[in-house]
């Protein structure tokens, strides 16, 4: 292979300058192609560096989420799969069609939306989606009140999501009301949009695991159209405490020892007893936001509030309600 390491020809020429010199007979076809190749390499290198950096940032963002280990593994597998398919296409090898519509199953507050948002960015940086933004909708955004209204509303949301992800929360509610309900029309409209805009849109159906499984069972056509299923586990006590700490740190607050014991106690009780919403990061946020408000009421009356006091949440701030 001819190696042009020490090549002296400039690559700062524009491509049209190169062809001009070639036409003039000032450079040979070999030299011309050499310059064009090195220009291309430059461009690819710069583009790659930038998107690699962004991709890494998004993957780091994913890793920084507390817990969610199986979800992280799946997203990484997905990322690797997409990348390999792209490489295979470059080599002219057979490729699997990239059908990336997904079902996210899990309780509220388990990170479904957050993961969807990061996934949008990852797929955008990998060149799968053009924009990678997330459009979050629910039944009321899709289903209308009279005939024809639903198709129009659904299409509107689909259009907003072009180039990104359409995230349908509590998707099973579209099947509510049976055959004559407009939800059915919305589902048909979504399915059509998925076919028409294959390369430009990813749909994510999200909701409680039980309801989602039931929904997919009763709409067998959907099952094959949404090949990727991700189950979001509930957070355990340790993870919930970590989330609490993270939330406080981001807001520049801290718990004193008693307060932190109390938070652990509340979370522990809830994990055992609140059946419909166990392991829920929203509970953590509620506790913390209430505590922050109570702390404010408590210290605003005091004189000489120092930095420490401004930052510290005490037992009294936590107690007095966690719901």
């Amino acid at each position: 292979m001819v190696i042009h390491k020490g090549s002296t020809t400039k690559i700062s020429f524009s491509a049209s300058k190169v062809t001009y010199l070639l036409e003039k007979g000032e450079i040979s076809p070999v030299e011309a192609l050499d310059i064009l190749r090195r220009q291309e390499e430059e461009l690819i290198f710069r583009g790659e560096e930038k998107s690699k950096l962004l991709l890494e940032q998004s993957l780091e963002e994913l890793d920084a989420l507390v817990g969610l280990e199986p979800v992280k593994t799946l997203v990484r597998e997905l990322q690797a799969f997409v990348q390999v398919q792209q490489l295979r296409r470059l080599e002219g090898l057979l490729t699997e069609p990239l059908v990336l519509h997904m079902v996210f199953m899990g309780n509220p507050g388990t990170g479904k939306t957050t993961v969807a948002r990061i996934l949008g960015k990852i797929l955008c940086e990998m060149g799968v989606l053009r924009k990678g933004h997330l459009v979050e909708v629910e039944r009321a955004d899709l289903v209308g009140e009279y005939i024809g209204h639903t198709a129009q509303k659904t299409r509107e949301q689909v259009k907003r999501a072009f180039g990104g992800i359409l995230f349908i929360d509590e998707a099973y509610s579209l099947a509510r009301g049976g055959e004559r309900d407009f939800g059915k029309e919305s589902i048909d409209c979504l399915v059509k949009a998925m076919e028409d805009h294959k390369d430009n849109l990813i749909l994510i159906l999200a909701g409680y695991e039980g309801e989602m499984r039931q929904f997919l069972r009763t709409n067998p056509g959907l099952h094959s159209r949404f090949p990727i299923h991700i189950t979001f586990p509930n957070y355990n006590l340790e993870e919930l405490l970590e989330i609490a700490e993270l939330m406080l740190r981001q807001r520049e607050y801290q718990l004193d020892i008693e307060a932190s014991r109390e938070v652990a106690k509340i979370l522990k009780c809830n994990i055992g007893t609140v059946v419909e919403n166990p392991g829920n990061a929203r509970l953590v946020r509620n506790i913390i936001e209430q505590a922050i408000r109570r702390q404010a009421v408590r210290i605003v009356k005091e004189e000489n509030t120092g930095r420490d006091q401004l930052m510290t949440i005490t037992l009294a701030d936590i107690q007095g309600g966690e719901k």
Binding site: L22, G25, S28, P29, V30, E41, I44, G92
Partner: protein, 202 residues
């Protein structure tokens, strides 16, 4: 529609390949869109035998412009459409004829934009010449350029001629890791694999 560019040195068989490949895919005449380096373009219709007679032949640089033919490849769902473009033969050195230099500049311009690159070499000629002159320097440049682009394959042509097998062996040794399809453009041999390749790319 995806474009597939056929590129290589003069007389390796690019033009004959495009015509015979069209015939192999079931066409009995071809509509050739001819684009001249000055930007002017026209469409000419040929029967296959007429095209072979008028467009190919020894004698340097029969082809002095881009000649595109639209092809359809049967696929699982309907047909895949593809534009295959024949180009002016490349060479290592500066040609004395300005018309040919322009045509080569035109070829390199589309090379930068095309989806798929089919790089043709003359396997029989490889054997005839010394190892040092195995491939033109321009062939190595095309190989390197194509690495950064989309689908790429090398067609080792004229496998019907004596010595071509040895030439193919030399070629494979010289360019390890490249996807090489041995063919005879004249006898339409190896076209099945070429068809599979292009249909994966479009």
């Amino acid at each position: 529609m995806k474009e597939c560019l056929v590129i290589g040195k003069a007389n390796v068989g690019k033009t004959l390949f495009v015509i015979n490949f069209a015939e192999y895919l079931g066409l009995d005449h071809i509509e050739v869109k001819i684009s001249f380096p000055n930007g002017f373009s026209t469409v000419k219709c040929y029967s296959i035998p007429q095209a072979r007679k008028e467009l190919t032949g020894l004698g340097a640089h029969k082809t002095r412009c881009l000649q595109s033919v639209h092809l359809e490849i049967p696929a699982r769902k309907g047909r895949k459409k593809l534009k295959i473009t024949d180009t002016t033969g490349l060479m290592d050195t500066i040609h004395q004829d300005v018309e040919i230099r322009r045509a080569i500049a035109q070829t390199l311009n589309v090379l930068r934009q095309t989806d798929t690159i089919i790089h043709m070499v003359d396997a029989h000629n490889l054997y005839m010449s010394e190892a040092s002159a195995l491939l033109g320097e321009i062939d190595y440049q095309v190989v390197q350029f194509a690495q950064m682009r989309g689908p790429y394959c090398i067609l080792a042509n004229k496998m019907d001629l004596p010595g071509a097998r040895e030439g193919l062996q030399l070629l494979l040794r010289e360019l390890p890791g490249q996807y090489v399809i041995p063919i005879s453009a004249l006898h339409k041999r190896g076209f099945k694999e070429v068809k599979a390749f292009v249909s994966r790319c479009c």
